[in-house]
Symmetry: D2
Subunit: 218 residues, 4 copies
């Protein structure tokens, strides 16, 4: 159904990179260019480049985007403000999608929470996030994205660390007599690769512009 | 903050009627007219009439609405199609709000489910509803309202009966790698009285028209 | 089925006292003695006395227990160590049950958590408690009872405050690959009155002794 | 900490077999014998044999157990009554563990549910199980194991199918005023391999006997 395309992958040997390859492969898209510490390939000009590497690789990624004049899906986390600015500059000539979370469900959750917040201004709000025991930072980056929706208001946020849970987020709204809860559970990393695929399809025929993953979904 | 008003109450001695009085009283609105099997009062012309009685009382309610030329909040359940049509006719001269569920949270849930459904067309959907052991009908009326959102598609719906739970509804959306769930729990009947208050404030300065509780909230 | 008995009630006009009366009445037990700030009755010698009042009333309660030589169910919270010691002393002559939580389900939860803890020593543990927005203390007394099960180990405990939720408690155990959760939700105050009834039936034919509500249930 | 041992694996190329290898390897146990459709190895006499293959392979497995005079962990599902009887016969000479579910958490859940059932005989019970959309049978085998605890009583069981959820099971007990829920979520197949490791360590120094996984855990 969806259009097939040729893509490039920067950070192809990382955990997310491997998942991207697996999902893109399943949908019959063709890897024609890759770059990683373990080496890479260069078979053809990619119609879109996915970057799920590290901030240290950023400059090289930008160089490839310029060389191929190719749209960019930026999935690397921890970028500096300078790097984000460079992305915006380059988006004048090619389309760029940048996000710290390519889960489709989380985007829907953010949207639903915004609506509920607007309609239930007097209700109590509680955020909960649960992740595996190895996650050190509290609260999660996604919980911070949720907090931003309530700008100006401090939202109580509980962080639980349990076993190897990939990542759960819940936002509760509590009124006198009822509770409304919106919950997202990631059950595998695959979900992020699926989101990146949606982003790639989104930019394929765009001329240029800077987009978030929210733009892709809504 | 909110405007104070004089109201009439039909079905004032029922469980919901008592809750309406209690909540309206708390917000300093004044009961000037009431009707119930235990008798009633008639002190002044009500600015709005609340009906939370039985379908058998319907004709009398309409007579009062005409007599006082007063807006109507219809919270009686189990009305016939003829009665609904009469409501629509009378809404040409006074504003009418009619709903089978005045919980604000359920309205938000319905809205959020509609949005999620639109954005996640390929995801699996499961509805769950849990009520007290005394509830005979399965699934609940509210679960049926949720099912309607997915018109044309049959949605698997699980009904649990446990202790004296006032009423929980959950809609799950399941993709490959993530689950998004929207849940509403009623913790007391008060929530319905609060919704009726919102509806009353909504019609206070309307000229006429037929509204659902969804119109009130959104 | 259960034996009918005559009972006395101290603190009969409080919220819990009213619930106790309502439940005991439903089971055809007879109130023959009561004491509250609003006055009391004295029709007969009670076979058991329930105290759900305040620590300030403690001395008077003890005096009544001695006068009637009657078993005592102590449901007043916030007792001092001295008062607890007096209860233990008096339990040499009459049976006494003392607990800060007469919910049957919470007792089962405490038992189940103890077993799970023993069998899953290496799993992560997280406690969650959710109560209405008016509850000031964090964590709840019941959460502290749960923490005690893990003596010596500090257990992460999250406290959520939402609407008018009567009280939820969850204990999660997280291993690599699975999570086991034990959850209790109070849906009404009635549950505490039912537990007090069980305690009353438990002591009815006891000679003497000091008991917790755990002894009653297990 | 735990003792290292040499093991044999029948069904080594299946999904569970691969997970067993991965976990046993991590704990430094040594694979000295294996059998699968893709071939096998035979380096030494195994101290314990794990069978996670298919009923069709059963005879061969028994032959290996006899040849090596080795304890057996039987994790193959769908065995016939005749095959189970053969296992019991052979357990006179070697120790055998047989179960259809080697999740430690599920064993704890079964235990906790038994206790709760005994203590809450009058409460409503509801079982819920949620699995990935590809699971055809309803209810799950584990749900059936839970139902057996309530022998003689028909227990309402809801089956949800959502995305790729590995497997959730919940048992709710509902009284008038409270709900107690016991929930297990599998987050990966690894959990079963960990349970098989426990079973292997359990039989290592047993002389003979037939054991369930419940015996291993409790």
């Amino acid at each position: 159904m969806a259009e097939k395309f040729k893509y490039g992958l920067i950070g192809s040997s990382g955990r997310l990179g491997e998942e991207v390859k697996s999902v893109f492969d399943e949908y019959k898209n063709q890897l024609v260019f890759s770059y990683s510490l373990e080496g890479g390939i260069r078979k053809d000009i990619p119609e879109v480049i996915i970057d799920c590497s590290l901030p240290e690789v950023f400059e090289r990624s930008i160089a490839y985007v310029k060389e191929f004049d190719s749209p960019l899906i930026m999935a690397t986390t921890g970028l500096s403000n300078e790097q984000l600015q460079i992305l915006k500059n380059i988006s004048n000539s090619v389309p760029v999608v940048q996000s710290y979370n390519y889960s489709i469900g989380i985007q829907i959750l953010l949207k639903l929470v915004s609506i509920a917040k607007e309609k239930l201004p007097d209700w109590d709000v509680e955020i909960e996030e649960t992740h595996h025991r190895f996650k050190k930072d509290k609260p999660s980056g996604t919980a911070k994205m949720i907090q931003k929706i309530f700008e100006g208001k401090e939202i109580s946020t509980s962080s639980l660390r349990l076993g190897n849970i990939p990542g759960d987020h819940i936002v509760h709204f509590g009124g006198l007599g009822e509770v409304l809860s919106i919950k997202h559970s990631a059950t595998s990393r695959r979900t992020f690769a699926e989101g990146i695929l949606k982003a790639a399809e989104f930019v394929l025929h765009k001329k240029n512009g800077f987009f978030t993953f929210t733009d892709v979904i809504f």
